[in-house]
Symmetry: C2
């Protein structure tokens, strides 16, 4: 007899709170199994909430290892909490599955729970149904009231920073995707390194926490640097009463984190992947120049590599500069789920 919906929830998704969450357990009054989960943020805390949906064939290939998918589905949501400087403490999962495949579910649950345990958080509720493979996770984090990092806090004069894997850089996820698509070839060892960027992104939670009170704005890179930066420039100008076209930015192309593998591509190609590749799940943040030492200290404390890549400026538009300061042509659009991909 096939596993039914309730057996399935019980077998793969019901578990006691993960051990590192002992200090948080008192703030989850009732998880998984009732009509609602009950959450109790500590006094003086706001609850940061983010939701993402992943669809087979769009956000992941049907051939992905289920444990990697479990990891990534939660990682992309934790990345949003990181960008707010929130400490993760719980999540819900809604899952549509074409069929009950126990090997797949066991793998998926393993990847999901491993990342949840690494961050000390619990699955507190959810829904499973039959349907085309689709995942929607909602994560909850805590942040002291008024201390969340926001997209709208950037100001002209701020330095612009980005986190990165070490070794690794922006655009590696896109590079991997192109190899999977067959438009690029890489030697086996080089591919084994860069594919981590696509398949096992590491949400920069510790860096986000360390940047509270240091960074003036932050966003996580999911749609590509240029597109995500544009959100920061638009919202920050609106919040500061600046130009309706947004603030601007200067980006120093040679400062963009670049993996050894990406560095083997032609310069133009490389720049496109770094600026618009998408799926990076790094933090892009700004801070006033006088906070540069604090930024470096936050990076060190959180064991996360960061790189200063440019500045926020008053005039609208983003200018990308080369090694000798010349203006580079960077005509690429941000990734958009409803627009066909550009050249």
């Amino acid at each position: 007899m096939p596993l039914g919906e309730f057996d399935l929830i019980a077998r793969y998704f019901s578990r006691p709170p993960s051990p590192p969450a002992a200090d948080l357990a008192s703030r989850i009054a009732f998880g998984n199994g009732d009509d609602c989960a009950l959450l109790q943020p500590a006094p003086g805390m706001q609850l940061a909430v983010s939701t993402d949906m992943l669809v087979e064939g769009r956000h992941f290939l049907s051939t992905v290892a289920p444990a990697l998918l479990g990891h990534k589905a939660l990682a992309v949501n934790l990345s949003d909490l990181a960008a707010c400087g929130a400490r993760p403490y719980a999540y819900t999962l809604a899952l549509a599955l074409p069929r009950v495949d126990e090997a797949w579910l066991a793998g998926f649950a393993e990847g999901l729970h491993a990342l949840a345990d690494a961050h000390g958080i619990s699955l507190v509720g959810g829904d499973t149904t039959a349907g085309p493979l689709t995942l929607s996770i909602t994560v909850f984090g805590e942040v002291p009231t008024g201390q969340a990092l926001m997209r709208h806090g950037a100001r002209p004069g701020d330095q612009l920073w980005v986190s990165h894997a070490s070794p690794g850089g922006l655009g590696d996820a896109r590079l991997t995707l192109e190899v999977f698509r067959g438009t690029l070839n890489l030697p086996g060892e080089a591919f084994a390194t860069v594919r981590q960027a696509l398949e096992r992104p590491q949400p920069r939670v510790a860096l986000g926490l360390a940047l509270r009170g240091v960074a003036r704005s932050a966003i996580d890179l999911s749609d590509g640097l240029l597109g995500d930066l544009d959100h920061v420039l638009q919202r920050s100008a609106a919040a500061a009463g600046g130009s309706a076209e947004g603030f601007g930015a200067v980006i120093h192309a040679p400062a963009l984190p670049c993996s050894a593998t990406l560095a083997t591509l032609p310069a133009r190609h490389r720049l496109q992947y770094q600026l618009t590749g998408g799926d990076d799940y790094e933090l892009l943040f700004s801070a006033p120049p006088e906070a540069a030492a604090e930024v470096q200290a936050a990076a060190q404390a959180s064991r996360t590599a960061v790189r200063r890549i440019g500045e926020i400026v008053e005039p609208p538009g983003v200018r990308v500069l080369g090694a000798d300061g010349q203006l580079l042509d960077a005509p690429w659009q941000a990734f958009d789920h409803f627009r066909p991909p550009g050249p």
Copy 2:
């Protein structure tokens, strides 16, 4: 040029907090547009959270009017808050769409926002992507710490109650589904009445609030009365240290709310729909006999019809009794998304 993802979010899903939410606006520090929404439950309040996923062809037909779908997607989630006695105050939406269809989106948003406005709640975040039509909503509500209605609170001797539309009854949603499937025929006027049950379920939020401190257990009916009651019986026995097989219940079939249209069906057929139809979104709750007057007062205060349909008993198993107290045969299973439907 087709609408892109960000235009789409801006056009259909960004709006100021709805007017009735003025008292709640201070508790939503930042909605829709940053990496996270920030929620601030009032002091002494727990946050009740529930998530549901709806898939085309499984939870709704491809021909459903988009405004009805917008209503229902939020209604089924609000029903979970109602079952906890929580006051709704915000929600997030994750939406996969096969294409950008502006007429569809406008209709969907209209139905969604109308119900949100009726409950004074705001859309605080979400995600849109291309994919097979799938909706996942997560709702947030507030409940004073320790006062949430739970599934595990029922005790032997409790009276069992159910809410219902008036006119209307349990099983009308399933009746409507069978008409859509072509397995049943109904006269036009009768059909126009019962289809409201399937297409415009009314979450019993006001009743849930009024039952705080009155009901001992509550659950919302989504998978059919027998299946949902079983959750209550299992969890309540576990919480009270009762039988590993759960508590039991006696249900008086003639007391089950029954619409005039459902009453035209053969008795056996009618009983099956009432007990296992699913998609009712009514509250099933228990209260000690001495609280019966308070239950009636809560129903009156919330302008919601309720009916006493049976009792919780110590011995495991559910017995369904007929008009003269004879035991009826009720062998039906609860609806399960991963099991083929029964006879």
